[in-house]
Amino acid sequence: MIDTLALAITLPLLGALAAVARPRAARAIGLITALVTTAGVAALVIEVAQFGLRRTDLGGWGAPLGIALQADGLAAALLAMTNLVALAVSLYASDYFGDGPIRRHFWPLWLLLWAALNGLFLAADLFNIYVALELVGLAAVALAALTGTREALTASLRYLLASLLGAITYLLGVALLYAAHGTLDLGQLANAIAEGPVAWTALVLMTGGLSIKAALWPMHFWLPPAHGNAPAPVSAALSALVVKAAFYLVLRLWFGLYDTAATLAAAHFLGFLGAGAVLWGSWQALRAERLKRMAAYSTVAQMGYLFLFFPLLAAAEPGAAREDLLAALVLFALSHGFAKAALFLAAGHIQQCAGHDRIAELSGTAQRLPATTFVIALASVTLIGLPPSGAFTAKWLLLSGAIAAGQWWGVLVVLAGTLLAAAYSFRLLGRAFGFEPTPYRCITAVHTEVPALALALTATLGLGLAGDALWTLLQVGGPR
C-alpha cells in the first residue's frame, strides 16, 4: 500500500524542486502538483475516517530515534481544510500571476510552504514540529515579500523577526522537555510529563512562542502589515492557513500533550487575550481604510475567538460536553480558514479591477463585479457568524458553553464581536449597491471567480449544514 502520510509531504516538495529546476514551466508544474497533492491528502483523510489513526515510522526507525508521522482526526480535519484552500489558491494564483516575473518565485516557495504545512500537521514529535514550523515561517515570509514594494519588504522583515522569535522561544521549551524526559515523541511525552516547574516552564515557553506565530493579541503587531501587503493569493494562504498551523500546535500541546496539567488560571489568561483580540481586532478592522487591511485585522479578531474556547475547555470535565466544545473550536477554525481565503481572493479581484482597495472609494461593486461581491457577502456571513455557516454552529456552542460555565464576560465579548464584524463587513457591502461611479478596468472571466466562490460556499453552506460529520472525524484518536 502506498504510504499516504509520506506522500502528503513529498508530493508538494517534489513539485517545489521541479518548479525550481524548470522555471518556465513553473505554472504547469504548480497546478499539477496542487491537484495530485490534494488527491493524495483526500485519500489520507478518507483512510483516517474509515480505518482510524494512521501512523508511520519513516525508514522503519521507531520513536524515540526515528521520524514518525501520524494522522488522527484533528490532523485530518486541518489537512482537509488546508489542502482544499491550497488547491483553490493555486488555481487562483495561476491566473493572478499569469506569466509575469513573480511566478518564477511564487511557485517553488508556495509548494514548499504547502509541504511544510502538511508536515507540521502530521509531525508526531516536538522537534519535527519545530523544523516544520521554521520552514512554514521562512516560506511564508518570502512569499509575503514577493511584490518587492517598500511596504511589503518592511512588513516582511518585521514578520521574519517575529516568526524567528516565536520559533526560538518554542525551541527553548522543547529543549527543556528533552532534557527532562529524554524523548520528543508526543505519545511518549504525554505519558512522561508530570506536573512541576520544568513542565510548566516548557509549556509557557512553547505556548508563548506559538502565540506570536498565531498572532494572538497583543502579539499580533506583525500580522496586519504582512497580510495586508502580500499578493492576494499569498494573503489568503497566510491568513487562512499559516496562523492556523501555529494555533493547531497550541491545541495539541494544551489538550493532547499536557491535558491534565494545564490549569484554569493559565487558560483564563489565554481567554482574556482572546477577548482582547476579538474586540481590538474587530475595532481596527472597522477603522481600516483598505479592504485587505480590514481582512487582516479581521483575522486577528477571529483568532481571538479560538482562544476564547480555552477557559471553557480547561474547565469542562472530560466527556461529551468537552468534545462538543473542542469540535466547535475546530469547526470555527475551519470555517474561518475557508471564508478568509475566499475574502482575500475576492479582495485581490477587486484590487486588480479597481486598481486599489480603498473601501471608501469602492462603490457599485454589486453592479460591476457581482460574483466577487457575492463571494465577499458569503465570506462575511461566516466572519460575522451568521447562519447557515459553520461559524454560526460553532458560535452557538461557544455561547452555550460560556453561559453554562457562568462566564458572562465571554458571552458579552462574543456578542460584541458579532456586531463589530457585521459593522466592518457592511462598510464594504453597504457601498456595493451604490451608483457613484468607480472606474473598473476589467470584466473578470467566469473561471477566475470559481475558486473563491467554492471556498465561500464551503464555509457558509457546506460546513454549516454538514458540520456534524466533523464530530465523527474528530473521534479518531482525539485528545484524551
Binding site: A327, V381, P387, L399, R431, G434
Partner: protein, 499 residues
C-alpha cells in the same frame, strides 16, 4: 424516504432553488426568469395544498438535519405554521406577478428576483421551524436576504435605509441569539410544542426565564416593529413597492410577530407566561405601539410613509392578541396575522400603482385619482376600510375577537386602546379615500408614465390588488365558513389552551 419527511424541506426549497438559478440568468432572459419565478410560486402553492390536506388527515410532516450533536435543523408543520406558510406562499404568488410588472425594464432584475425568492424561502422556513435554533437560523437568513432588496435601487437614500435596517435587525438578531442559547442551556433543546415546555422547570429558574423572555421579545420586537424598536421600518420605505409589500405584509414584520406568538404559546406556554406575569407587560408594549404608530401615521404626508406607520400599529394587534389571556384574544391575534397581511399588501399594491402609473407619492396628490384609476382605488378602499375595522371587511373580525378577548382577559383598558386606534385609523385613512373619490382631479398628474389604454394601468399591476382585496373581503364575509381561516385559528387556540 417518504413524502412526510420531505415535504417541509421541499416547500422551502421550491422557492430557494429557482432563486439561486435566477442569479445566474442574464438580464435580458426575461422569459426564463418569469417562467422560473412563476413555476416556483405555483409548485410551492401546490405543495402547501398537499400539506394542508395531509395535516387535516393527521399526518405528521417533519424534515430533520443534524448540525451538530444536540443541534438539529427541524422543519415541522403544525397548525400554526400552516397559517403563515399558506399566507406567504399565496401572497408570494401574487407579489411575484406584481413585481414582474412593476420592475419591467428596470436594471438588475435577476439580482432582485433571486433575493426575492430567497426571502420568501426564509419566511417559509421561519413558519415551518420546529425548534428554536431553526427559527433563529431562518430569522437571520431573512435579514440577510432582505438587505439587498432594500438597498436595490442604489440611491444614497436606499443605501442609508438599508444600513439602518441592518443595524436594527443585527442588534435584534444578537439579542435573540443570546436569549435562545441561554434558554437552551437552561432547558435543553427547545422544541416548539403546543402549550410550551418550560413550566416543568424548577421554580428557582423562573427569574432567568423572565430575563430570557425579554431578550427574545426584544430580538423579535425589532422585526415586529414594537416601539421603540420600530425605527428601521419607515426608513426601509425607500425599497421598490413590491418589496415594501412583502416586508410589511408577509416577510419581515410577520416573522417578528409570528416569533412572538411561537415564544408565548409554544415555548413558554400561554398559561405559564401568564403565571410569570409576562403577558401584561407584552400587552402594554403592544398597546403603546398601536397608539404611537397610528398617531405618527396621521402626521405623514407621503402615502408609503403613512402606510409604514400604519404597519407599526397594525402588526402589534397580533402581539396584543397574543398577550390577551384567553382563547378569544388568541383567535383575534392569529386571525389578524392573515387579515393584516391581505389588507396591507392590497394597500401597498395600490400605492405602488399610483406611484408607477401617475407619479403620485403624496397624500395631497391623490385628488380625484378614483376617476382615473377606479379599480386600483376600489381595492385600496377595501384595504383601508378593513384596516379601520369596518364590516364586512376582514379587519372587523380581528377587532371583534380582540375586543371580546380583552373583556375575557379582564383587561378592559385594551378595549379603549382598540377604540382609540380605530378612530385614528379612520382619521388617517378616510381623508385619502375622500380625496381619491370626491375631489376633482388636477389638470395634469405629477408624472404619468403609463398611458390609459383599455385598462387604467398594466394588467400585471392591476390584477394582484384586486385578488388580495377580494380575498380580504371574502374572509370577512364568509368568516364562519368551515375550513376558513377563522376556523383554523379556533382550532389552534383550542389546542394551545388544552380545550
Amino acid at each position: 424516504m417518504t413524502l412526510t419527511a420531505w415535504l417541509p424541506a421541499l416547500i422551502v426549497l421550491s422557492s430557494a432553488i429557482p432563486g439561486l438559478v435566477i442569479f445566474f440568468l442574464k438580464e435580458e432572459q426575461v422569459a426564463a426568469r418569469t417562467l422560473l419565478n412563476m413555476a416556483g410560486a405555483t409548485v410551492k402553492l401546490l405543495l402547501v395544498g398537499l400539506l394542508i390536506l395531509g395535516i387535516q388527515d393527521h399526518q405528521v410532516f417533519e424534515s430533520r438535519l443534524a448540525l451538530a450533536p444536540g443541534l438539529e435543523l427541524v422543519l415541522h408543520a403544525d397548525a400554526l405554521s400552516v397559517l403563515l406558510v399558506a399566507l406567504s406562499s399565496g401572497l408570494w404568488f401574487v407579489t411575484t406577478i406584481y413585481a414582474i410588472g412593476y420592475l419591467e425594464g428596470s436594471p438588475y432584475r435577476s439580482r432582485f428576483f433571486g433575493f426575492f425568492s430567497l426571502c420568501v424561502s426564509a419566511t417559509v422556513g421561519i413558519a415551518l421551524a420546529g425548534n428554536l435554533i431553526t427559527f433563529v437560523i431562518f430569522y437571520e437568513i431573512l435579514t440577510l436576504t432582505t438587505y439587498p432588496l432594500v438597498a436595490h435601487r442604489g440611491t444614497p437614500q436606499a443605501t442609508r435605509g438599508a444600513r439602518i435596517y441592518l443595524a436594527y435587525t443585527m442588534i435584534g438578531g444578537v439579542l435573540l441569539l443570546a436569549g435562545a442559547v441561554w434558554l437552551q442551556v437552561l432547558a435543553g433543546p427547545v422544541d416548539f410544542i403546543e402549550r410550551g415546555m418550560l413550566a416543568a422547570l424548577p421554580v428557582e429558574r423562573f427569574g432567568q426565564l423572565q430575563a430570557i423572555f425579554f431578550l427574545l421579545i426584544a430580538g423579535l420586537g425589532v422585526k415586529a416593529a414594537l416601539v421603540p424598536l420600530h425605527g428601521w421600518l419607515p426608513q426601509a420605505m425607500v425599497a421598490p413597492a413590491p418589496v415594501s409589500a412583502l416586508l410589511h405584509a408577509v416577510a419581515v414584520v410577520k416573522a417578528g410577530a409570528f416569533g412572538i406568538v411561537r415564544i408565548v404559546y409554544d415555548v413558554y406556554g400561554v398559561e405559564f407566561a401568564q403565571a410569570l406575569g409576562l403577558l401584561t407587560i407584552l400587552a402594554v408594549l403592544a398597546s403603546i405601539t398601536i397608539v404611537y404608530g397610528s398617531v405618527l401615521a396621521l402626521l405623514q404626508d407621503g402615502i408609503k410613509k403613512r402606510l409604514a406607520y400604519s404597519t407599526v400599529s397594525q402588526v402589534s394587534y397580533i402581539a396584543l392578541g397574543t398577550a390577551l389571556f384567553g382563547p378569544l384574544g388568541t383567535i383575534g391575534g392569529l386571525v389578524h396575522l392573515v387579515h393584516q397581511g391581505l389588507m396591507k399588501i392590497t394597500l401597498f399594491f395600490g400605492a405602488g400603482n399610483y406611484a408607477e402609473t401617475l407619479g403620485i407619492h403624496k397624500v395631497a396628490d391623490l385628488d380625484g385619482v378614483g376617476r382615473r384609476m377606479p379599480w386600483t382605488t376600489l381595492a385600496f378602499t377595501i384595504g383601508a376600510l378593513g384596516m379601520i375595522g369596518i364590516p364586512p371587511v376582514a379587519g372587523f373580525i380581528s377587532k371583534w375577537y380582540l375586543g371580546i378577548g380583552a373583556l375575557k382577559a379582564e383587561m378592559d383598558w385594551a378595549i379603549l386602546i382598540l377604540a382609540v386606534s380605530s378612530l385614528l385609523n379612520a382619521a388617517y385613512f378616510l381623508p385619502l379615500l375622500y380625496r381619491a373619490w370626491f375631489r376633482d382631479p388636477p389638470a395634469a398628474w405629477p408624472k404619468e408614465s403609463i398611458p390609459r389604454g383599455a385598462l387604467e394601468t398594466r394588467a400585471s399591476l392591476l390584477v394582484p390588488p384586486l385578488i388580495t382585496a377580494a380575498l380580504a373581503l371574502a374572509l370577512g364575509l364568509f368568516a364562519a365558513a368551515p375550513f376558513g381561516v377563522l376556523e383554523w385559528c379556533r382550532l389552534i387556540a383550542a389546542r394551545e389552551y388544552g380545550l
